[in-house]
Symmetry: C2
Subunit: 235 residues, 2 copies
DNA sequence: GGATTAGTATGACCGCCAGTCACGACATTA
DNA sequence: TAATGTCGTGACTGGCGGTCATACTAATCC
């Protein structure tokens, strides 16, 4: 539920820009078999990175576990960073966008949608922590070169639909219109990301973030956070 | 100007907790010679990390450039991560705290202090970009283990004095008191950090953050940002 | 001052792992 | 079957973080 940047996700599968991390030397039309193998690798990598972290993850272990040669993985993804980037994308794409909430929630408006997701995220994490952990790694646990690619991706896809969400808020008269919409979006993304990290890190990486967090008090915290956020970007 | 956590920096040089990154096997009273050598290494490391990034920095290069054996560096700092942590601490400690502003600014109140530093930071960065770049690396360009130590440090030292600063704001009646002060501090830290990153990244790491930023418009952005922040935690 | 010892400096060496590449297996076409 | 392109492979390499036996220096003692 966090991202930064404009909503540019217009059509599916826009060509990602070439880069060291994204050699993309595959044939133009890979064919279903290769695509399937590629997907298998990404799935396993997701789990592997989630379990070991970025640096401690060993490509060779991954390849052994998959029954695939190490060389193949590099052929598909170019580098460890490239593989991680694909895993990260898959993780983030698996998260719901703000507007993917039930319609009766949507009718209640902007801030109720936020509340819905904040309350919900805890359970989502518990059900499947793997993509959340990989997202955490991507946000804080890689080097700047990779982080740059990640930000580029978030900017291009806006996977949580923050821009559309803010637009809805403005249209409903719930979100202030005297401030540049992109700045609103950024602030929403920043604070939501950090707040959720603080809520979830207990399970994802104990000790990563300072933790005044008694889980029982999370609901109260969420309410306070929403109050502040409403003051910031509301009305 | 950003940190997260309580203001615990009570006395100088509180014992940092032992850890893999902080073996601290030095003698209890190192003597001035060793302290000087240690400081020399940290200084050079600061520059070296700033120039090359965390992963691309080579301890051996650093040691050659210093005329010091590689083994010595590991003897002093235990690991590359330990060395970086020290460099990061030094960088962050070199930044001014919120309340270090001129007294006539302080008299103008909480939000004017923020404005002062936001306007000021750009120039500070230009004058000496090295610590800012290292802080950026520490925030986004290391692995989670190191990031954990960094957060622990920020929590323990509160190097920007955010807690005292918020306390002042509350005392002056400028900052809302209906919300847990620690949450206010966190939100202030989160947003200030990200906003400054967005402002400064142009010079520190072009392309790291999405950049709608025409430098000429920075002042307008700062004003809008302050408006939002005032709504969030003001009155 | 010489001897003993504790603290400090050194750089050759080791283990590890991302990334490479020559070769082999396989598929496709002729 | 031969020829040609594609895909898969794993032994190998390069480079770097980290170690440690040895050398050196400074302090301490008789």
């Amino acid at each position: 539920m966090t991202a930064s940047g404009h909503d540019l996700r217009s059509h599916q599968r826009m060509k990602t820009p070439r880069s060291v991390l994204n050699p993309d030397v595959r044939t133009p039309n890979p064919g279903p078999r290769l695509e399937a193998k590629r997907a298998r690798i990404v799935d396993a990598a997701l789990r592997h990175f989630a379990e070991h972290g970025y640096h401690a993850a060993r490509i060779e272990d991954l390849s052994a576990q998959l029954g695939v040669a190490k060389g193949s993985i590099f052929q598909y993804f170019g580098s460890k960073g490239g593989l991680f980037l694909e895993a990260y994308k898959k993780a983030v794409r698996s998260f719901p966008a703000y507007l993917d909430c039930p319609s009766q929630i949507r009718e209640k408006g902007f801030f109720e949608i936020l509340r819905y997701w904040l309350l919900r995220t805890e359970r989502l994490v518990r059900e499947d922590w793997i993509p959340y952990r990989v997202a955490l790694l991507g946000n804080y646990g890689v080097d700047l070169a990779l982080k740059r690619e990640i930000n580029r991706f978030l900017l291009a896809e806006d996977p949580y639909g923050s821009t559309a969400f803010v637009r809805l808020g403005i249209a409903r008269g719930e979100v202030r219109s005297d401030i540049d919409a992109p700045l609103i979006v950024s602030i929403l993304d920043w604070t939501m990301e950090r707040f959720q990290d603080a809520l979830l890190t207990e399970e994802l990486d104990p000790g990563l973030f300072p933790h005044p967090a008694d889980p029982a008090k999370n609901q109260a915290r969420i309410n306070q956070f929403l109050l502040v956020l409403r003051g910031a970007i509301g009305i």
